[in-house]
């Protein structure tokens, strides 16, 4: 019915008392997400979100007292790698890190700890994930605006933030709903890659088509395409790659978005995706039409 987030989610928000944390926690709760705890060191014992959510000093306390199984991190960049490690060590199995600007070496260490504890990290520098429902009964983690979603059966995975919203809005406008919409983040070192996201969608019986929103830089789209060519044959699949017009050697905002010599080019990614059976759009607005061409029909 969805991947990573859904009715089973019991969320702890790390950094809930910060400006961003408080704002987005309220948005998530309003959409229907079950928030069971907040963590801010030194604020244990207080209550937050209109007195509905207990605060804890540490994640391990939050897990023990509330059974939290998922975390969403709004901690500032300097402490975010440590917050990820804390969540993993406390037994949280699904960890979203929204924070941007985390030093990449911090992520190398944090991710190793996540893996050692068998957890799944999404991000950092990602918008989060939504498994849409009616307002008040969906699950949304992170900062994606609730308004763009429609419940449905298309899995969306993307490296970008607002570009994802653009793509999802065009689907919703066309009446095409989403099973889960997942933003994996644009940093060089991320916890969940395109390929891993596709594996999760492939195992989700409620996902009947895939939309992949990639961009220049690295080879994650190519790696996902190679996997999809073998394992995703049963699902209609479309993609969009941002950065066709990007020049070589200039970093396009995202730390990860750079064309280096012969690698990371949009043309190569598009070719790899097409070879793997993806229909590749020239604009996000074309995604609904291409989904239909790929064989997707609304349930």
């Amino acid at each position: 019915m969805s991947i990573l987030v859904g009715p089973q989610t019991r969320l702890v928000v790390q950094g809930l008392t910060g400006r961003e944390g408080a704002f987005h926690a309220a948005q998530m709760a309003a959409y229907g997400t079950t928030i069971v705890a907040g963590v801010t060191p030194g604020r244990g014992g207080e209550r937050a979100l209109d007195d509905r959510v207990p605060m804890f000093d540490t994640v391990v306390d939050a897990v023990r007292e509330t059974g939290a199984n998922t975390s969403c991190i709004f901690v500032p960049a300097a402490g975010a790698g440590d917050a990820i490690a804390e969540a993993a060590e406390a037994g949280i199995k699904v960890i979203f890190c929204i924070t941007e600007g985390i030093p990449v070496h911090d992520m190398v260490g944090a991710l190793a700890i996540v893996r050692a504890h068998g957890a799944q990290l999404i991000g950092p520098n990602c918008p989060g994930a939504t498994s849409p429902g009616a307002i008040g009964s969906g699950t949304k983690i992170g900062i994606i605006p609730a308004s763009i979603h429609l419940p449905g059966d298309v899995g969306v995975v993307s490296r970008s933030g607002t570009l994802t919203y653009e793509a999802v809005q065009s689907m919703t406008d066309a009446g095409i709903g989403q099973s889960t919409c997942l933003g994996i983040g644009g940093d060089p070192i991320i916890g969940t890659t395109f390929r891993e996201a596709l594996e999760l969608f492939a195992a989700d019986t409620a996902t009947r088509a895939i939309v992949l929103i990639g961009e220049i830089g690295g080879s994650a789209e190519e790696e996902a395409a190679a996997w999809a060519a073998v394992h995703l044959k049963h699902l209609p699949r479309v993609a969009f790659i941002a950065g066709r017009a990007a020049p070589e050697g200039r970093r396009m905002g995202h730390a990860g978005a750079i064309v280096s010599g012969a690698s990371g080019r949009a043309a190569d990614k598009i070719a790899a995706l097409e070879a793997a059976g993806f229909k590749v759009a020239g604009s996000p607005t074309e995604l609904p039409r291409l989904l239909a061409e790929a064989g997707y029909t609304k349930a």
């Binding site: 600007g101 070496h105 190398v108 933030g161 607002t162 994802t164 941002a242 017009a245 990007a246 730390a255």
Partner: protein
């Protein structure tokens, strides 16, 4: 942030790695003085190297040998007069020319696929690693450093053994390879490359050879610069465009391109997509510009200044998908900026998402041309740049 060769060498030297003597000079006289000292210390020749943050300086005449102080000074005059790939040469490194037995390639870099620090070594030093990768991929030996402990000695030894180092040279290689990873971790570098890592004669040692880091390239992770004020101080603001500096200081991701349509977008992926759609509609983007999430009016105004500083801009496309960013805030910023700007350029504005309705009201009242879809906005901007109506 890329470091100049001289600073990259300094970083390696501080980490205890073998880096040859050498000094930076900004004038031919200073270059001469350093050369005189190096000749007095026994150098047979010196090398004068342009300090510019681009590749290919050798081919551009930026690296030359000199056999005496006079020649060193003359060469410095020539090199300090060069402009390499648009960058004027303001500094040269003067160092003793090494007597190279052979050259090795060695680097440590952040690797997306393994999500760790990748070490690459090749016995074909001197060449660019991309060239080696294309010609003979098997010649590149790889190790992924331990995520917490750095490059383990056995990994360093394995790299060294596979490029043919033995005995004393292998010990030195192990110290250098583990040292590169230590530098990468301690200085938050995305890349630490030594090319060539040169084998030079060392009659005093068993084996008769030793390794020296002849050239070094280091890139620091921008996200980590805050905790390295000593490295931030090395930023070469002289060779940074003032507009680029303003963008960096405002937290705006800006890259100037060659076209006529200025773009202001929130989000890197959406900004790239906007460039793509402008191009697809037959236009040429003048820049990549991401104002980031949650941008306020002052940042919007700064972005507008930055775009307009480019005289090639004939039209502006503003594309905002409100999420954290509130559409009305952006609209207010645009109105404010218009009041301050020195020249008028036609503009098309698309604001959707959070507070889009309030934004639309403000924009309509302000007489801005608007668009609802991104495709439409791109087409209108291209028409405006060509002198048409929005």
């Amino acid at each position: 942030m890329k470091l100049h060769e001289a600073e990259a060498r300094e970083l390696l030297r501080r980490a205890g790695l073998p880096v040859p003597d050498g000094e930076v000079a900004t004038t031919p006289a200073a270059a001469r003085a350093t050369a005189e000292r190096l000749f007095a210390d026994g150098a047979a020749q010196v090398v004068i190297k342009a300090q510019v943050l681009v590749g290919g300086r050798g081919k551009a005449g930026g690296v030359k040998l000199a056999a005496n102080a006079d020649e060193a000074e003359k060469t410095a005059v020539q090199i300090l007069a060069l402009t390499i790939k648009d960058l004027p040469v303001r500094r040269v490194l003067v160092a003793p020319a090494a007597d190279i037995v052979r050259e090795i390639y060695l680097s440590a870099l952040i690797d997306r696929s393994s999500r760790g620090i990748l070490l690459m070594a090749s016995a074909a030093g001197g060449m660019e690693i991309e060239e080696v990768a294309a010609k003979d991929p098997g010649a590149i030996i790889r190790e992924i450093a331990h995520p917490h402990a750095g490059l383990l000695p056995f990994q360093a030894r394995r790299l060294g053994l596979r490029i043919g180092a033995r005995g004393e040279l292998l010990k030195q290689f192990v110290a250098i390879a583990t040292g590169l990873v230590r530098v990468a971790r301690e200085s938050d570098a995305d890349l630490v490359e030594v090319n060539p890592l040169a084998v030079v004669p060392a009659p005093e040692l068993p084996g008769g050879e030793r390794l020296v880091c002849l050239d070094a390239k280091v890139t620091i992770d921008d996200s980590a610069l805050e905790r390295h004020p000593e490295l931030e101080a090395w930023r070469d603001e002289d060779s940074e465009d003032p507009i680029d500096r303003e963008a960096r200081e405002m937290g705006i991701a800006y890259i100037r391109l060659d076209g006529s349509i200025g773009c202001m977008v929130n989000g890197a992926g959406l900004a790239m997509t906007t460039l793509d759609l402008v191009t697809r509609a037959g236009g040429t983007p003048a820049n990549f510009l991401d104002i980031g999430g949650g941008a306020r009016a002052d940042k919007v105004a700064a972005a507008m200044r930055i775009i307009l500083a480019d005289k090639g801009v004939k039209a502006i496309l503003v594309n905002i998908f409100g999420g954290i960013t509130r559409g009305d805030e952006v609209a207010r910023g645009l109105i404010e900026a218009r009041g301050q700007q020195e020249r008028t350029v036609p503009m098309v504005v698309r604001i959707v998402g959070t507070n889009a309705r309030e934004a639309a009201d403000l924009l309509t009242a302000g007489g801005f041309a608007t668009a609802s879809s991104l495709d439409e906005a791109a087409e209108k901007a291209v028409a405006l740049a060509a002198g048409g109506a929005a």
